[in-house]
């Protein structure tokens, strides 16, 4: 009888485990995240800027971005705040309105100096990618691009820096080792590797054309945190 129960329980455990393994595998299955790119801009003058930290321009298509199944665009229409309460162009909500066009009316312009915009995802998420388009009507490099995530709306505690190209710490957020890059319609994809956070904050400090800070769009691809 003891053998019967041992076998039965063993079989049930085996079945349970065999049933669960595929479930867990399905949960972590990597799938391609669908990213919609805006129309490229052809025109403008070549950029007259070079630095040791400037990434070589890559004209190839970005390889598909893979993230665990269930990762989706979670930033659309979410509340946006900024260090500049009154942008001189556009409105903060335009950061997550889905309009990534280079046209003059899609742009948010923040004041000069180091400025940030912040997206509230309204709940903690496992974040896999953050895409940002500062400007893509012509070529520019934005300075001191820093991307941080946190569960603290004030960004005082539990801050994770995902990207920082401020090589001389002029924005005071620490010296970064990431590259400066030339803006284009593909935007910049910052990998977040499942960082858990509710808030996403994007910094910049002027650009090669003027001192202002600009955003066309920002997208956060994530899934609800477990």
């Amino acid at each position: 009888m003891k053998t019967f129960w041992t076998l039965t329980l063993g079989m049930m455990a085996l079945l349970l485990v065999s049933g669960m393994v595929p479930a867990a595998a399905a949960d972590d299955e990597m799938v391609e995240v669908k990213i919609e790119l805006p129309e490229p801009f052809f025109g403008g003058t070549p950029i007259d800027y070079w630095s040791e930290n400037l990434e070589k321009e890559d004209f190839r298509d970005r390889p598909p971005f893979m993230a665990p199944k269930g990762t989706e665009l979670v930033s659309a229409g979410k509340p946006v705040t900024s260090s500049d309460k009154n942008p001189s162009l556009g409105e903060l909500k335009m950061l997550v309105d889905g309009d990534k066009n280079y046209a003059k009316n899609s742009l948010i312009e923040l004041a000069d100096g180091t400025q940030w915009v912040q997206i509230d995802l309204e709940a903690e998420h496992e974040i896999y990618a953050i895409l940002l388009w500062h400007f893509h009507e012509g070529k520019r490099v934005y300075f001191d691009v820093v991307v941080q995530v946190s569960n603290d709306a004030e960004f005082k505690d539990g801050v994770t820096t995902l990207y920082n190209n401020d090589i001389d710490n002029s924005s005071g957020l620490g010296v970064g080792a990431d590259k400066e890059y030339i803006e284009n319609n593909k935007g910049r994809l910052v990998e977040a590797k499942g960082a858990k956070a509710r808030y996403v904050r994007l910094y910049s400090n002027g650009n090669t054309a003027d001192d202002m800070n600009h955003y066309v769009e920002a997208e956060v691809f994530a899934r609800a945190a477990k």
Binding site: D48, N169, D210
Partner: protein
């Protein structure tokens, strides 16, 4: 009513002063401003000035700045700050607002008020009243001369004639473009006379010419010449100056044709009109002076109406129209153009706009109609004031601003800060060696910003030993520098102006020391 009117004038003057004096040091120096400041500094330090017939314009600006530098307490040029220099055009700009009010004596009190209000809040006029170049003083002297000339015609006598002579002399001693302005003035005067003859259905008579008060006019001409000679001879210390002030027109005629290196300033005939009417290059504010243009057009139409109000001098209004028109056409036909050159005729447009605004309110004879008309005009002035705020304080050095012309980029200031930061960690401090290698000599306004550094070399050729603590050069020298430099450098890049990139090489050990101290 008179007290209310005077209070309104005082308020307009205060608004004009605000736009001209607030944050005077905010915008980086344009290369031309820096150049003028360095020449002023030489006069301040050494007491010498020599007129250069090929560049830099007339001497009045340098002499006018001296009291401001003294009052600022600067012991020498390297201690001076830009605010002391920019106070000269700023005060000229404020005086121009006051002068425009005085024009109300001949155009009508309310025309003077509206013109002064539009001038006080004008984006372009305020912008170049904060710019250390000759333009604003030239405009003030020109329109002061016109005012004195008009008063002289009304009451001929030595007083107004001599005042006219003084301003005419100052115009000549300020900028070479005074010549086409004098020509336009003469042409406009002839047209007003011809118009009157037509109105009277009479042919011009010699007797009228003979009846002119020639003696005061000759005295005016003598004073104008004396003022000009005094300035161009550097107060009688440089004998060749007055001759050069005449010979210079050979240079400026070539420049006006747009030949040689000045070809980059060649613009189509409609350049000034398009700057004033509509400017929207890329994402950013849309700029227009359309309210002034529309009112000026209406004012021009009313200038030709035979019926006038009692406080309006029809000859002055007509002169204003012909003078403004002649300058607009003349300056538009000259291929060489820069935005500040249009301001002298834009002042005429502002005066005409004042006439137009006053006529509009007058036309709405029924009082309840006058209130909305006045409100509409005030709304137009508020629109212009907002534009002026954006252009002077938010987009002061931004290429989207129509008045930003080959301007030093704000990024250049980061470079200036960086060089000073490196000097701070260098054992020699301000005696650190900096090499600026620019074969074309295009390094302005850096001599202004590095005036406190004692060992800065401005190389127009490639130096035999280019190594230094900091080297600033254009990207075209990269290969040559790579071949000749012995030390290791950290390289940064920044725009001196739009399209002019500079690379800053900081000796690696100094960069690392700077970063170690910055943490």
């Amino acid at each position: 009513m008179k007290i209310l009117y005077l209070a309104l004038l005082a308020a307009v003057l205060a608004v004009g002063a605000f736009f001209r004096l607030h944050q005077l040091d905010k915008r980086p120096l344009h290369g031309d401003e820096a150049n003028q400041a360095v020449k002023t500094g030489i006069l301040y330090d050494k007491g010498t000035y020599v007129y250069d017939p090929h560049e830099h314009h007339g001497p009045t600006l340098y002499y006018m700045a001296q009291p401001f530098l003294k009052l600022s307490g600067a012991a020498s040029f390297k201690d001076t700050q830009i605010t002391a220099y920019r106070l000269v055009p700023a005060l000229c700009g404020i005086l121009l607002v006051a002068l425009t009010m005085a024009y109300g004596l001949g155009l009508g009190a309310w025309a003077g008020f509206w013109a002064a209000l539009l001038l006080a809040v004008s984006h372009g006029m305020a912008y170049y009243s904060r710019y250390y170049i000759q333009e604003m003083s030239l405009i003030l002297f020109t329109w002061s001369a016109v005012f004195a000339g008009w008063r002289f015609i009304r009451c001929p006598g030595y007083g107004w004639a001599l005042l006219f002579g003084l301003f005419a002399g100052l115009m000549h001693a300020t900028k070479e473009t005074s010549l086409p302005i004098f020509m336009a003035m003469g042409g406009a005067l002839a047209l007003v006379w011809a118009w009157e003859c037509l109105e009277r259905r009479e042919t011009p008579r010699r007797a009228e010419l003979r009846a002119l008060p020639w003696k005061p006019l000759l005295a005016a001409a003598a004073l104008a010449a004396a003022v000009s000679v005094t300035f161009f001879s550097s107060f009688f210390t440089h004998a060749r100056g007055p001759l050069d002030s005449v010979l210079t027109y050979a240079t400026y005629l070539k420049r006006a044709e747009g030949t040689g290196s000045t070809g980059i300033h060649d613009h189509p005939w409609y350049y000034y009109l398009s700057l004033l009417s509509w400017h929207w290059k890329m994402a950013g504010p849309k700029w227009t002076e359309a309210p002034v243009l529309a009112l000026a057009l209406f004012g021009a139409v009313t200038a030709l109406w035979p019926k006038r109000t009692p406080d309006e001098d029809k000859r002055l209004v007509r002169f204003l129209l012909f003078f403004t028109l002649a300058m607009t056409v003349g300056f538009s036909l000259i291929p060489y153009k820069s935005p500040w050159n249009m301001l002298v005729f834009y002042q005429g447009m502002l005066l005409l706009a004042g006439c137009g605004a006053a006529a509009l309110v007058r036309m709405a004879r029924w009082k309840p109609l006058q209130a909305p008309m006045t409100a509409l005009l005030l709304a137009g002035a508020a629109f212009l004031a907002n534009q002026s705020w954006l252009g002077n304080f938010k987009y002061a050095a931004d290429v989207r601003n129509p008045y930003v012309y080959a301007h030093t980029s704000t990024a250049a200031l980061r470079m200036v800060d960086r060089v000073h930061q490196i000097a701070a960690v260098h054992p020699d401090g301000n005696r650190m060696i900096v090499r600026i290698i620019r074969p074309g000599g295009d390094y302005w306004p850096l001599p202004w910003y590095f005036r406190d550094l004692e060992r800065v070399g401005y190389h127009v050729g490639f130096p035999a030993t280019p190594d230094a603590a900091v080297i600033i050069s254009g990207p075209e020298l990269n290969q040559l520098l790579k071949e000749h430099l012995k030390d290791d450098y950290f390289v940064e890049s920044c725009a001196l102006r739009p399209g002019i990139s500079l690379q800053v090489r900081i000796r690696r050990d100094l960069w690392e020391k700077f970063m170690a101290e910055r943490g």
